[in-house]
Symmetry: C2
Subunit: 239 residues, 2 copies
């Protein structure tokens, strides 16, 4: 494992085999990071998806509880109590639904968004600059080959100067794109550590607590309210 | 809407058109209840499914966090801190996973199980007894028709007695099955109200609170722990 932690910009112009070899180490690292980031994003999106599904499920349950009233039961005697209780539960589920939605939104904003931004911005930038650097290198190689195939005769001096200018341009272009590529790879090494840990802070951080506290109090209130009025509630559990 | 709240067992033997008409009202009510119960169960299973998916999702996320260490990054400098932080987060997610699993189990036991039991036991019993009552009625009708087609001649006295016995048997059988069917329909009217409200108590009742409290404390602990060591955590949000 190399002890270097960045690509030196001053070595970009010379473009030596040693520099190229070091570059390939950084490229391999970026490739591994891209693959890992995709897997991590997938796992995080699954958590977000579950939280989102919980919103939709509580929404459906709340609606279904209200639907009891609209069933037109042939025997409706004593249904007023059931209807009012199911209305009450529907409201509790609605309140929980609001909080589940908030949790889902928070997961989206503080967990999913940072890692998507890292992928779309940092990783995509490296990948784009890699392509541009590759194109510039090829262009430079082509103009170099053209220059080396030039006949040595005097009368071609003007054409020779043109090709030399082309080579110089290509080298300048390649130098510029390598500088940008090196910078992006160096920045990626810095961003990498933060990018890996930031979404998890979003997952566990304090923003969630108010919601969880409210959720807890809704459930406690609903349980206390109902425990008084429903003595039969222990029937099943006593069996 | 009839003001009766049960089928009178003493009317089962006579089996009058009035009784049959009242029976059809109870049957219609049972049909509506079966349909509504199936929809309610579906909505509740969706909530349970979301909670279960949250278990699986947190499990996958925890594994993915540990997997960072095994990526063999070409540039591993400074990774010790990332690895130890992701290990820490993996443990937090594991603890949350245990609690999500407990919540899923509690939903299964206190919300899904009672309504499945109601469907499998009470509703299925009514439906089975309806079939048996139908069979017994048909059998009775057949033996009655046979009896009424008997010739009136004296020499058939023995055969007549046999058929009369058959009719009596069929009537006894039909009477017995109608008693059972009426009982089940009456019991369903009693069970109905409890069955509709019991699963929702399971959803909101106190059993959840210990888990929610622990979940809250895990998240608070992890946030305090990390807030100290990660000054960069506000970077994104300050953008």
């Amino acid at each position: 494992m190399p002890t270097v932690d960045k690509l030196l910009l001053e070595e970009a112009l010379q473009d030596s085999p040693q520099t190229r070899s070091l570059l390939s180490v950084f490229e391999e690292d970026a490739g591994t990071l891209t693959e890992y980031t995709n897997q991590l994003l997938q796992a995080m999106q699954r958590v977000y998806g579950a939280q989102n599904e919980m919103c939709l499920a509580t929404q459906q349950l709340s609606k279904q509880l209200l639907a009891y009233e609209k069933q037109h039961f042939a025997l409706g005697k004593g249904d007023e109590e059931v209807i009012s209780t199911l209305h009450y539960f529907s409201k509790v589920v609605d309140e929980l639904n609001v909080l589940h939605s908030e949790l889902a939104k928070q997961l989206a904003d503080t967990m999913i968004l940072p890692i998507i931004q890292f992928r779309e911005k940092d990783l995509t930038e490296v990948s784009t600059l890699k392509d541009l650097f590759g194109l510039a290198s090829t262009e430079h190689d082509v103009s170099m080959a053209k220059y080396s195939r030039l006949p040595k005769r005097k009368e071609n001096e003007k054409h020779k100067a043109e090709v030399a200018k082309e080579v110089a341009n290509a080298r300048r272009k390649q130098h510029l794109s390598s500088l940008q590529y090196y910078c992006a790879l160096n920045a990626l090494q810095y961003r990498k550590r933060v990018a890996m840990m930031e979404p998890m802070l979003g997952y566990t951080r304090g923003q969630h607590f108010p919601s969880w506290h409210i959720m807890l109090s809704i459930l406690m209130r609903s349980a206390h309210h109902k425990e008084q009025s429903m003595p039969w509630r222990t029937r099943r559990t006593e069996q």
